[in-house]
């Protein structure tokens, strides 16, 4: 007798194998998210660029003319990290509400529900890939006047970014199924994180004595990697790269474990 083909998988690899079986659903949801977002909008993807570009312009004016942050070519510095931050912000925000948004689905179909969180990250990733191509092009043409060899690391950074975003979104989304506080707490947490991460200033400005504490935030490591690779155009310190990889892996494992612990009861609660 074959045991149930429905998701009763254990944590870890069996669980991921389940997800793989449902890859068509992941693809379908990503396509749906994008289609619903962009249909009937003439300018489509342009709108996705307008908002962050406006913020970037304001930050450039403020931090190079008012509060003068001593970073040469500040615009290039800001571009190399801001969109990454934006990806984290939006994936965490949409990922958090994804279970209650799909409550009908969760209540009436047995499927590995982490797919919903993956799909939030997936559709955001497609947008990010278009954004980062434009940014790379701008930096190559206007900042480096050539292609720095460190750009070979960009795919690795993007992979880290996605794993980190999903690893953070899974436990937050799990918590929000049980406690609606997340609705209030998440915007506050994300605002704090914006100031506590090197988005508009370089991590090197953080006092030496606080830096260990500062880098406990895995997003700080990720953004610094982007600054090194995209803006400075140099290979990052191995400790920074390996440290961020390890932190990301830890976030993923812990986040997935928390999600897995409670996922079976979502259908009774959402």
């Amino acid at each position: 007798m074959v045991s149930a083909t429905v998701p009763r998988a254990a944590a870890g690899f069996p669980r991921l194998r389940q997800v793989w079986r449902y890859r068509e659903l992941l693809r379908g949801l990503v396509v749906r998210n994008l289609k619903v977002k962009y249909q009937r909008s003439l300018l489509g993807f342009v709108w996705t660029l307008v908002n962050p570009l406006l913020t970037v312009s304001i930050l450039v004016v403020v931090f190079s003319h008012v509060v003068r942050i001593q970073v040469p070519h500040y615009w290039a510095f800001l571009l190399s990290g801001y969109f990454v931050w934006n990806f984290m912000l939006q994936t965490l925000t949409t990922g958090t509400w994804i279970f209650s948004e799909h409550s009908r689905l969760t209540r009436s179909v047995a499927f590995p529900s982490e797919i919903l969180v993956f799909s939030a990250a997936g559709s955001r990733l497609i947008e990010f890939l278009s954004e980062i191509s434009l940014i790379l092009l701008a930096l190559i043409l206007l900042h480096h006047h050539g292609v720095p060899p460190s750009y070979a690391l960009v795919p690795v950074l993007i992979a880290l970014q996605v794993v980190l975003a999903v690893g953070l979104a899974l436990p937050i989304a799990t918590l929000s199924v049980f406690y609606y506080d997340m609705y209030h707490a998440l915007p506050i947490a994300l605002t704090s994180l914006f100031y506590l991460s090197p988005v508009f200033y370089p991590a090197s400005m953080v006092p030496e004595s606080l830096r260990t504490l500062y880098f406990l935030n895995p997003i700080a490591g990720l953004l610094t990697l982007y600054h090194e690779v995209l803006y400075a155009g140099r290979w990052p310190a191995p400790t920074l790269l390996l440290g961020t990889c390890a932190a990301t892996a830890l976030v993923w494992v812990l986040g997935y474990a928390i999600f897995h612990r409670y996922a079976a009861s979502f259908a009774e609660i959402v």
């Binding site: 429905v6 998701p7 890859r23 659903l25 379908g28 749906r32 249909q39 009436s108 179909v109 009774e268």
Partner: protein, 260 residues
């Protein structure tokens, strides 16, 4: 007619429940904010005030290929819980559930449908929700479209559909996917008379080809036409398990009002 009671020697039942119980909590007070959680912690008051109630108690059930089983009983007797447990949406509190083959559960029609997508796009998405790969869906796609019988409107966004058409589309997907086990929760009464007749014919065909059907319905005449076996649930326990005519007769004799 297939045997009304399961043959215990059969090596491969499609669905097997052994001593399955499901406990739910009915919350009189459910703490859903961390502030309140904290206050209740400090004041040493209970976090949740809840009453445990069994939706199912010690249910044993064996369903073979080619059987169509109707679950009968009042609202709240545990019928839908059985379907959700078999589908794997709920986990049992006690006991074991074993199934073999692909399961398609239609608990809510059109869960996973999106109003902005066209009918055709929704068919694909719903197929993916039910766990089909792209190739598997492609095999059944023509059949679904033909069965739904909606032709041109498949390129129209779902939000312009009438609720009847939407239900019809969802039902067509579920029925045409040819799973090993099909679970239907009060979704038989869909569409016009002609469509219902076709559904019934399709489901009979499904059963005759060895499919296993578990359904909850209050349309007793439809149940009689379709099912081979009836299970009567009351307060989470099986009180009768026999061929459909016997169970329906007893169920009616017990004074269960029928829908008009």
């Amino acid at each position: 007619m297939p045997p009304a009671s399961p043959k215990l020697s059969d090596p491969a039942p499609r669905v097997e429940l052994q001593g399955v119980s499901k406990r739910f909590y009915f919350y009189e007070h459910r703490t859903s904010s961390l502030r309140e959680w904290f206050i209740r912690r400090v004041l040493r008051r209970p976090i949740h005030v809840r009453r445990a109630a069994f939706s199912l108690r010690g249910v044993n059930l064996r369903v073979e290929p080619g059987e169509a089983v109707a679950l009968l009983g009042h609202n709240g007797s545990g019928k839908s819980t059985v379907l959700r447990l078999v589908a794997g949406i709920y986990q049992p509190t006690a006991g074991t559930i074993r199934t073999s083959g692909r399961i398609t559960a239609v608990i809510e029609l059109g869960a996973g449908f999106h109003p902005e997508l066209t009918g055709a796009e929704n068919i694909r998405l719903y197929g993916a929700v039910l766990g089909l790969t792209r190739r598997e869906l492609a095999e059944h796609y023509e059949d679904i479209v033909e069965f739904a019988g909606m032709g041109d409107s498949l390129d129209t966004p779902l939000k312009y559909y009438s609720s009847g058409m939407e239900a019809r589309l969802a039902f067509s997907v579920a029925v045409c996917l040819q799973p090993a086990i099909l679970l239907l929760d009060e979704v038989l009464a869909v569409g016009d008379a002609e469509f219902r007749a076709r559904c019934l014919a399709r489901l009979c065909e499904f059963r005759e080809q060895g499919g296993t059907l578990l359904l909850v319905s209050h349309e007793l005449e439809q149940v009689r036409a379709l099912c081979t076996r009836g299970i009567w649930l009351r307060d989470g326990r099986v009180i009768m398990d026999a061929d459909i005519d016997t169970v329906l007769a007893a169920y009616r004799a017990a004074g269960v009002p029928e829908p008009a």
